[in-house]
């Protein structure tokens, strides 16, 4: 019985950090992937594979042979080429509560972006930051290349 209680309280303790973190929700999945791609958060990078979940704060990184595609919950489509580092800074998709936001950063490499529902409902809520400025979108598809 004592043992059971110990396990139970351990379980609770383990749950709490997850429960208070707002960044826990899955906002999209890796839908296409070739070769070496990683998804990183504060715990460091892990190897990504088809179906890997994406969370706010993740950095998706490819090496010289890597490429990957992600579809977010609002149907925004993002695909990246080799030698790329791409970060999801902020994401909110709750149209019923009018909570809509998509802020990403392309630190290096190439990005192909296709607008989803967030850009349709609230265009000003979508930005892609680059080392030299900010890209805003008005319902569209575009490519960006950052050369270091």
């Amino acid at each position: 019985m004592k043992h059971l209680f110990a396990c139970w309280s351990l379980g609770l303790a383990l749950c709490i950090p997850g429960a208070v973190s707002a960044d826990d929700a899955v906002i999209g999945y890796i839908k296409t992937i070739t070769d070496q791609t990683t998804i990183g958060d504060s715990n460091g990078p892990i190897k990504a594979s088809l179906g890997s979940p994406i969370h706010v704060g993740n950095v998706i990184k490819t090496d010289e042979n890597g490429a990957a595609g992600v579809t977010l919950k609002d149907n925004t489509i993002l695909s990246i080429g080799p030698n790329t580092e791409f970060k999801i800074e902020a994401y909110q998709f709750e149209p019923q509560q009018d909570k809509l936001q998509l802020n990403a950063s392309l630190l290096k490499g190439t990005l192909h972006y296709i607008s989803g529902v967030i850009a349709k409902l609230k265009p000003e809520a979508v930005t892609v930051k680059t080392p030299t400025g900010v890209i805003a979108v008005r319902g569209t598809r575009f490519l960006v290349k950052i050369e270091e």
């Binding site: 999945y29 839908k31 070739t34 695909s79 080429g81 192909h112 490519l143 290349k145």
Partner: protein
């Protein structure tokens, strides 16, 4: 060795400066539906707007907009373009009044929906239930949920590559066809399935 390398590097740098070739740049593309929107790049104190598909802008303060040849797009973005996931697909299923029975037309659509889910690798599916405004809002919230739950059972994760099936109820609060209260509207009695 250095005597050969140095002039080459210099020539390359001069050539770059002369053509104004942007190293970091963006290109606006036509959307898959044939429309074209626009992109706005804001750098330090300047703003560049691109409104024509196939045109690009340098990611600096030069405010230059230029045509980008397809060849260059393929060379620079071939891999990123080739990694584009299958586009999300949306289906609407309609119900008989007051319950979870699909209309005959919608029931006939089921095989197509299951087939589509199979074509999306690592599919994540959202199923949103709706009602019309007949009956009270609380009961409709519940009915819309029952409709969505029933449809969600079509996607068996043990048989197909499905990562997630998210079920939501909007009750009578998200009408496709705007009506007053207590209005029977077949197009509002629906479940929206998005296969990503």
């Amino acid at each position: 060795m250095t005597t050969i390398t140095l002039p080459k590097t210099l020539t390359f740098a001069v050539a770059l400066a002369l053509t104004g070739c942007a190293k970091s740049y963006l290109v606006l593309l036509e959307d898959h539906d044939g429309s074209t929107g626009k992109v706005i790049f804001s750098g330090a104190g300047s703003e560049t707007v691109v409104e024509q598909a196939g045109y690009g802008a340098a990611l600096d303060n030069s405010k230059t907009v230029f045509k980008v040849e397809q060849e260059k797009i393929n060379k620079d973005f071939g891999r990123a373009l080739a990694s584009e996931p299958v586009l999300p697909e949306i289906f609407l299923l309609y119900f008989e009044t007051g319950g979870t029975k699909l209309t005959a037309e919608s029931a006939a659509l089921i095989p197509k929906i299951i087939e589509t889910a199979g074509k999306h690798p690592a599919a994540d599916i959202s199923v949103i239930g709706h009602t019309d405004t007949v009956g009270d809002a609380g009961k409709n919230e519940k009915l819309a949920n029952e409709r969505a739950v029933q449809v969600s059972k079509l996607f068996d994760a043990s048989k197909m590559d499905v990562k997630e099936v998210a079920v939501t109820s909007h009750g009578e609060k998200n009408l496709l066809i705007k009506t007053g209260d207590e209005t029977s509207e077949p197009r509002n009695r629906r479940v929206e399935v998005t296969i990503r």
